[in-house]
Amino acid sequence: MSVAAASRAAPRGSGLARLLNGPHDIGRTPGAWAVLAAGLASFLVYPHWATAFQATNVAYYLLNIPMALGLSLLWGYGGVLSFGQVAFFAVAGYVYGIVAGNLPDAPWGTWLGVVSGLGASAALAAVFGYFIFYARVAAWIVPILTLVLALLLSTFLGLTAGSMWTVGQVPLGGYNGMTGIPALQVGTLTFQDYAFYYLTVGVVVLCYIGLRAWVNAHRGQVLMAIREDTLRTELLGYDVRREQLRAFVLAATLAGVSGLLYVQWGNYITPSVTGLQQAALPVVWVAVGGRDSLLAVAICTFLLNQLSYVLSSAGNQYALVIIGALLVAVMMFAPEGIVVTLARRTWRRRR
């Protein structure tokens, strides 16, 4: 069945449920959906027995999921690895900080910040992606180019210490970062502590459901077709460059979503969020979880963030060694990703 035929076969009206249960993610059985629903429910009731500190901490494990999902889309479903998602993460955070910080009294200031932050991420991705995809550079060069973008941005932001780098009333702050970024507000409600936790859970669920529908819809299938056979897809009449660019921009916007949540969490952002160490982390989360499954990536991002926090807050010097060893072991013994491998085994046994 051709890609086009597949998309035509996809139902239109009550399509969302069908799309969600499409073939391109793990967890399609009723049992799996029940587990997912139970998981979501437990996230919703968790704050009732957690302190504000614990809820905020859990929100931190969650807030990186949109960025990881975007990379999963780009790499796992589209076959294009970006090592520079953190650049879009940082751009969204910084632009939000500038816009919201300059409009401290306007009730819609923070929301304008959200829109412009996401817009800036998407615009940067569009321009940079144009250079990459319309030049048709080899697939293995893309990660290195995006890494260079991230490092360049990190270097540049680190140099903005002087007063000439004050935008309106907000200094960029150089290597020390931008502090005092205002939190999102609706009326009198400021999204902090529990409110921030629920905001994060909501955003993550929306991103996941949206993406899961997207990969099972027409566009997602074209993307997978490009991954499988670029030339054939092109001969079928699709503009491969445009489709790849579209996925790249979408992934960048999702990284921007994570960036926005991050500045809500800490009211703070520094150039190191787009440095070499951080740049590799999304790749690690996606690879370890299983890059061609959104759900696996989401679960793994949550768990790895938690693991790294637990290891380091115990003052354990072996944190980096353990994470490195985990990475090597997973890539060697479960190259499809640890969550995907486990899920497939369970599924087979049930059958």
Binding site: F53, G158, S163, Y175, T179, T270, G315
Partner: protein, 498 residues
């Protein structure tokens, strides 16, 4: 006299166990204080075992890029906590606004600087050439009995975490310390970026916080006490010496980020005051590790001396590369040697002729310091160096304990108000005065010079330099709460020299 030895594990708060350890070699104690202490010490032990510990929260980088600095700070904190639990404190007390002169173990006689300056480093007040321009009664003991084992009848517990040189993790750990562990005081931060990462959290939760590192200055924060040296205490003294000794033409090489740029603007702005001139500036990014262009630019500019404000792993490569390229100009700095012990890490003579106005280095020859160095290496025999921020951490924790003891509580607001009484503490460097209005410390500054074999000598001393810049800007935290960091842009003086 029966005094216990610090045991290896400072985090173990068991006062009874600490009390059971063997006698201490030290025999030089100020008799009066010791007797008073001995009388009070006994009942404290009994109380200590039953009480919940006083928690000193401590975050430093024990792994990752900055761990060469973090580990010695951790060890210094462990030593301080151990000494508190063993019933010791550093001499000193609240002295009000009078500053050092009203108390302190010695009254420093300020060195008179010669007008010509080239031959003599210092002359004494009578006009006689002298290597030592001040009178120091150095033989007194600074570690004295506190009168109780632990603090307020409770053992002191060091709650430490590893920031892994990662700012986001620093935020997480600061929240954990403040919200979950509910520490009574937080001592944390090497890089300015780390301090700025956690300061909003500290302010939001009104956490008593000590930042013990040397830094670019300007933090005016009601909840933060900055006990390290700042620009006005280091930059101007070292420039004064260099201009006198080597000449007025300065070339600045500074790391291209906040610390480097701000410190470079101090150099630029105070050069005219000293009748000197910055003839060239170079700001290599932190990532740069190959310096042939920088070296060539310096050679082209032909300065009398070079101000190097280089930071981090990559940038320290400048020194061996410059030495190999035959660039043998005198160098000045405010960070090298005292912080990253470059004179130990690099092969001589890479750092030959390096000058730094430091508030502490382990080589300071005074008896009080050598005793401290001995105590430190007895506890941590394998440590490579004991630098200035480790010493600052050490006396800051003692200072906190003294203030809490006087306040009679660990209530953070009350301890903060007590600290704002203005405290003198006898640190290994000398007498330190915690200035109430700015929450910064007056330091004993020494000019350290490395020779071709990387041996350190101290060629000039300034017994008490105030952190005057925030005062000049009108900061008074005891009256007007603030939480911002001032930069030279906030000061009209600096604007004249942009």
């Amino acid at each position: 006299m029966d005094t216990p030895t610090p045991s290896k594990d400072a985090a173990a708060p068991d006062a009874a166990e600490a009390a059971a350890t063997g006698p201490r070699r030290r025999d030089v104690l100020v008799a009066g204080l010791a007797t008073a202490g001995a009388v009070l010490a006994r009942p404290a032990i009994v109380r200590a075992a039953s009480e919940t510990p006083v928690k000193v929260g401590f975050i430093e980088d024990e792994s990752g890029n900055l761990s060469i600095y973090g580990v010695q700070k951790l060890h210094a904190a462990q030593l301080a906590v151990q000494e508190i639990n063993d019933g010791y404190t550093l001499a000193g007390g609240p002295v009000g606004m009078g500053g050092l002169g009203s108390d302190g173990m010695y009254a420093p006689k300020a060195p008179l600087l010669t007008a010509s300056g080239s031959k003599l480093d210092v002359i004494d007040a009578g006009g006689t050439p002298s290597q030592k321009g001040i009178v120091v009664s150095d033989d007194q003991e600074i570690l004295v009995k506190s009168g109780e084992k632990g603090l307020l009848g409770r053992p002191v517990n060091l709650v430490s975490a590893d920031g892994q040189s990662n700012n986001t993790l620093w935020q997480q750990l600061a929240r954990r310390m403040i919200q979950q562990d509910q520490v009574d005081v937080l001592v944390a931060g090497f890089a300015s970026a780390e301090r700025e990462a956690i300061r909003p959290i500290v302010d939001q939760r009104k956490q008593l916080y000590f930042y013990t590192n040397q830094y670019e200055g300007g933090v005016a924060d009601s909840h933060t006490f900055c006990t390290g040296a700042v620009c006005e205490q280091q930059v101007i003294p070292v420039m004064q010496y260099m201009v006198e000794k080597f000449g007025p033409k300065i070339f600045t090489i500074a790391a291209n980020y906040n610390f480097g740029q701000l410190t470079a603007s101090w150099v630029r702005s105070f050069a005219p005051v000293l009748k000197a001139k910055v003839i060239g500036e170079e700001f290599p990014p932190l990532e740069v590790s190959e310096f042939s262009s920088v070296i060539a630019r310096v050679q082209q500019a032909k300065p009398d001396w070079v101000m190097t404000l280089l930071v981090g792993q990559n940038q320290s490569n400048y020194y061996p590369q410059a030495a190999a390229a035959g660039l043998h100009l005198p160098m000045a700095s405010t960070i090298n040697m005292a912080q990253g012990y470059e004179h130990k890490r690099f092969k001589p003579p890479s750092l030959a002729n390096m000058h730094n106005a430091v508030n502490y280095m382990q080589e300071i020859p005074t008896k009080r310091n050598q005793d401290f160095v001995q105590r430190f290496y007895k506890m941590f025999p394998n440590d490579p160096y004991l630098g200035q921020m480790a010493q600052n951490t050490y006396f800051s924790i003692h200072l906190y304990a003294k203030a809490a003891r006087l306040a009679g509580t660990t209530d953070q607001e009350k301890v903060r108000r007590t600290l704002e009484a203005g405290w003198t503490i006898e640190a290994p460097e000398g007498s330190v005065f915690l200035e109430p209005a700015t929450h910064h410390a007056t330091h004993y500054i020494r000019l350290a010079v490395a020779n071709a074999k990387h041996e350190i000598s101290f060629v000039r001393e300034w017994p008490s330099i105030e952190p005057w810049w925030l005062q000049r800007l009108g900061v008074n935290l005891a009256r007007t709460p603030e939480k911002k960091q001032y930069t030279p842009d906030d000061d009209p003086f600096f604007k004249m020299f942009k």
